[in-house]
């Protein structure tokens, strides 16, 4: 990032390391979040490579089953809490103040703290790889009684989840307070850019459910060390109750990872279609309904635990309902493109890729909602394919789109368009080679979370692994593109994109250290 700023404020950023450690500036903190997210993306990705290497052939080649389970568990925890969520929080930090015409976030010191908790949380989590008994291996869902068999890593797992939760809650509070209090005059709620809207709703979801997660893992902790039996049937508890509590957090969590993506795509498509977003207000209402529905569908993650029939019916109907507002969003994006004047720079490519592939994930989601067939799909690679379509080609692709879209604004330099497009095409091809065959594997009967499989699954696993390695390597290209853009490149204009609308584009590229020192007037 640029260290020199031209504006005439009393101070610019401090120099050296202390700039980053003590910073209360939303842009610096946003940068820290984004770089941390990228780092975790690489660490979690490396674990995925171990998984795909072991699954390249039937038989055990590289790792023992227990370590394999640690890899799936840690891959998920790191990607969800370390890569995707901090990625979106980083974007919110950078963009929310600039989009609503504020100088900074409302609670800058808390902002610093909510970031700096994360490196400690993840150091703690990663340190379990070196402990007796190995890293947590009971799945990221931490279901008891299995999670109780975790070795010395157990308390480290629980406390790192606590820390991640604290960080998320503080980040979310900061975003809500900023959006509610710091909008420029004239920026009414229904004039806010959709990215701000989706983050406002996401932040409420975070505040609602992170304490639930913290509560459920604390109950695990007391079951293990303080003699309670919340989840131990032998002591009168109920292991299924954990699943209910966990997924009451876990389902909104899914939307926490996708609503900001909806926001990003709703910013990018209009820019490159040179046409206003179709159905702005229905987008806002659709986002709110998805957020509401996310609280009443949790048990669709656990249709096989043996719920009463009425429970299964309720959760099936509620889950199917989610298709309606989600469909509205997709239709709106397509209508925005319709009769536009489109160009396809890298951010637009990623956004269009998002719409197509997220929708494929949405279709498999609808299939999974149908309870009588979910009994077949549940806990197979069909589910693995489903959630990687929504999380990788959904959430991660939106993060990539956002990075390309706003990087010129952040750094003042254009990224290398040729490399960006290459990155998009390689990613898109290989991510499908990686995940599409997993649909077939699941339907043909391959359970998830197994280190070895019967020989009939060999071919599709090999294709999937090849796609995985290639997709993984392709991301190193992204790291290089980011590095190159930070270092230099063609200077970006303030507006950057011909069709860009919004307050952030009225600031210089890179923007001044304090975004809007005098509030802009919004008509």
């Amino acid at each position: 990032m640029s260290t020199e700023t031209t504006h005439d404020d009393h101070h610019g950023p401090a120099r050296g390391l202390s700039r980053w450690v003590f910073t209360t500036n939303h842009k610096d903190i946003g940068t820290l979040y984004l770089l941390f997210s990228l780092l975790m993306f690489i660490v979690g990705g490396a674990m995925a490579m171990v998984i795909r290497a072991e699954l390249f052939q039937p038989g055990l080649q590289f790792v023992e089953p227990q370590f394999f389970n640690s890899m799936t568990t840690m891959h998920a925890l790191i990607m969800i809490f370390g890569a995707v969520m901090p990625g979106f929080v980083g974007l919110a930090n950078w963009l929310v103040p600039m989009m609503i015409g504020a100088p900074d976030m409302a609670l800058p010191r808390m902002n610093n703290w909510s970031f700096w908790i994360l490196p400690f949380a993840f150091t703690m989590l990663l340190s379990t790889l070196f402990m007796d008994g190995g890293a947590p291996a009971g799945g990221w869902t931490m279901y008891p009684p299995l999670v109780m068999q975790t070795g010395n890593a157990f308390p480290f797992l629980i406390f790192s989840v606590h820390l991640m939760g604290i960080s998320s809650i503080m980040g979310a509070i900061n975003i809500v307070v900023t959006i509610v209090n710091m909008r420029a005059p004239g920026m009414t709620l229904m004039k806010m850019p959709l990215f701000v809207w989706t983050w406002l709703i996401t932040a409420y979801l975070l505040i609602a459910v992170m304490p639930v997660l913290a509560g459920s893992v604390t109950m695990l902790l007391t079951d293990r060390y303080f003699g309670t039996s919340f989840f131990d049937a032998a002591g009168g508890g109920d292991p299924v109750m954990f699943q209910h509590i966990f997924w009451f957090f876990g389902h909104p969590e899914v939307y926490i990872m996708i609503l900001p993506a909806f926001g990003i795509v709703s910013q990018i498509i209009p820019t490159f279609a040179r046409k206003r977003l179709f159905g702005y207000s229905s987008m806002v209402y659709a986002t709110s309904s998805i957020a509401f529905l996310s609280f009443i569908v949790w048990a669709h993650h656990m249709f096989t635990v043996g719920m009463p029939l009425t429970g299964e019916l309720f959760f099936m109907y509620a889950t199917m309902m989610i298709a309606v507002p989600t469909g509205v969003k997709v239709f709106n994006w397509v209508s925005t493109m319709w009769k536009g004047s489109m160009t396809f720079e890298t951010p637009m490519l990623f956004a269009v890729g998002f719409v197509v592939m997220f929708t494929i994930g949405g279709f498999s989601g609808l299939m999974l909602a149908i309870t009588p067939v979910d009994f077949q799909y549940h806990d197979t690679y069909f589910v693995v394919a489903h959630f990687h379509y929504v999380l990788v080609t959904g959430a991660v692709f939106s993060l990539m789109a956002a990075a390309y879209y706003w990087m010129p604004k952040w750094t003042g330099n254009m990224y290398d368009e040729k490399l960006g497009k290459l990155h998009f095409w390689l990613s898109t091809i290989f991510v499908n080679v990686l995940f599409f065959p997993q649909h077939f594997l699941g339907l043909a009967g391959m359970p998830r979370r197994i280190p070895d499989y019967s020989t009939q699954f060999t071919e599709f696993n090999q294709i999937s692994s090849i796609g995985g390695f290639a997709f993984g390597l392709t991301q190193l290209l992204f790291v290089y593109i980011v590095y190159k853009t930070i270092k230099g490149g063609e200077k970006a204009t303030d507006r950057v994109w011909e069709g860009a609308e919004g307050l952030e584009w009225t600031l210089s590229s890179p923007p001044p250290y304090h975004s809007f020192t005098t509030a802009p007037e919004v008509k």
């Binding site: 299995l146 043996g306 029939l309 209508s335 493109m337 009769k339 197994i450 071919e459 294709i463």
Partner: protein
């Protein structure tokens, strides 16, 4: 070798591309849900295909419009952006139409679900218990019970020998059911959560310690059907398959009679004195199938997770404590109570084995009668 490998890979990827074209020809690669052999699995399959085609229809429509737009409405083609950005009619329409489609799918789904969950009027009940990492089956009306564990040898898993036809999907004692009978399965677990699933039978139910779930199957075709534990249950989750053999009425009755006579022979054997050699030979087998997954074949365990039995205070100390650990397990740890899974002879044998293998050399002989007394 490499060439055939490559060829299979290519056909499989070509198959994926042609997926909808010729599903039959590609059955070898298993692209789709099996139709299965129970009313439930067939209902599930029909629902699956229905919703799949609905999704394909919507996808063709939406992506069609989108790609048309991507091709035609380009700036490079001189397209000028239109100004519209909302239309209440269209927006209401595309909220209501999908809703109606969903209702159309919910109706058959509800019907299917209601029949799947109806376990009443069954002809036969079998209790299924998940253990780390094997299944126990108990025929409630016939007093037959046995443990079913992976039969694939270790050396195939570690690539020292070629893999067999049913690699990882074969067991020592399969579950045997009669065809065309409504069989109710009562599913539970003794340690952690497992999930009982055979794709051809169409149902999956979690096996949860302390709770009993029920499901039913009516197998309509004789044959062998294979599945796996579907819920992550620890280290060897991938190694606890399920095999169901469906037999006609006469064959089934004969199988039941055989099981009963074998059980009474075992009961008689438990009464006599066993020699060291007999116990060691049997103990080695029991140890390999029931204990080695955790304590390892060499008795050294896995530090931090599973204790070594080689030289352990329990395995070389007082016999009654040793029997007690095996019979009753250690609550709150992965060490299960084997009293419910293993016979007196097996426990006596494995205890004898542990006390004399790997240089433990205590010379102690544990007789089945001693185990019976300790129960």
């Amino acid at each position: 070798m490499l060439v055939t490998r490559l060829k299979r890979l290519l056909t499989a990827s070509g198959g994926a591309a042609l997926l909808l074209g010729a599903p039959g020809a590609l059955a070898e690669y298993g692209l789709n849900l099996p139709r299965g052999v129970t009313p439930i699995s067939q209902e599930a399959y029909d629902m699956h295909m229905l919703i799949f085609w609905v999704c394909v229809g919507i996808a063709v429509l939406v992506f069609g419009v989108m790609f048309y737009s991507i091709v035609s409405h380009r700036k490079s083609k001189g397209a000028v952006a239109a100004q519209f950005h909302e239309s209440t009619t269209v927006e209401i329409l595309w909220t209501i139409v999908p809703f109606l489609i969903l209702v159309g799918m919910a109706v058959p789904a509800t019907k299917a679900l209601v029949s799947m969950e109806d376990t009443s009027n069954s002809d036969l009940s079998i209790k299924v218990t998940g253990y780390q990492w094997k299944w126990g089956y108990e025929y409630i009306d016939d007093d037959i019970s046995f443990i079913s564990s992976l039969a694939t040898p270790h050396d195939q898993i570690y690539n020292e020998n070629p893999k067999g036809e049913h690699y990882l999907l074969e067991v020592d004692n399969p579950l045997v059911v009669p065809v065309n009978k409504k069989v109710r399965l009562l599913v539970t677990a003794s340690d952690v959560i497992h999930s009982w699933w055979v794709p051809q039978l169409g149902m999956k139910k979690d096996a949860i310690p302390g709770f009993i779930n029920s499901m039913w199957i009516r197998v309509e075709k004789e044959g062998v059907y294979r599945g796996q534990c579907a819920e992550l249950c620890g280290k060897d989750h991938g190694f606890m398959p399920i095999v169901v053999v469906a037999k006609n009425e006469a064959d089934y009755a004969q199988w039941v009679a055989e099981q009963k006579s074998a059980a009474s022979a075992d009961a008689a054997a438990a009464e006599r004195e066993w020699s060291m050699d007999e116990l060691m030979a049997r103990g080695e087998k029991v140890y390999a199938t029931s204990c080695a997954a955790c304590h390892q074949a060499n008795g050294e365990g896995i530090p931090g997770a599973f204790p070594a039995l080689k030289g352990s205070a329990i395995a070389t100390g007082p016999v009654d404590k040793h029997i007690d650990v095996i019979l009753n397990g250690r609550s709150g740890t992965a060490m299960a109570a084997f009293g419910a899974q293993l016979s007196d002879i097996d426990i006596a044998a494995v205890a004898t084995y542990e006390r004399n293998a790997w240089g433990n050399d205590t010379g102690d002989l544990v007789q089945p009668s001693a185990v019976k007394a300790a129960r």
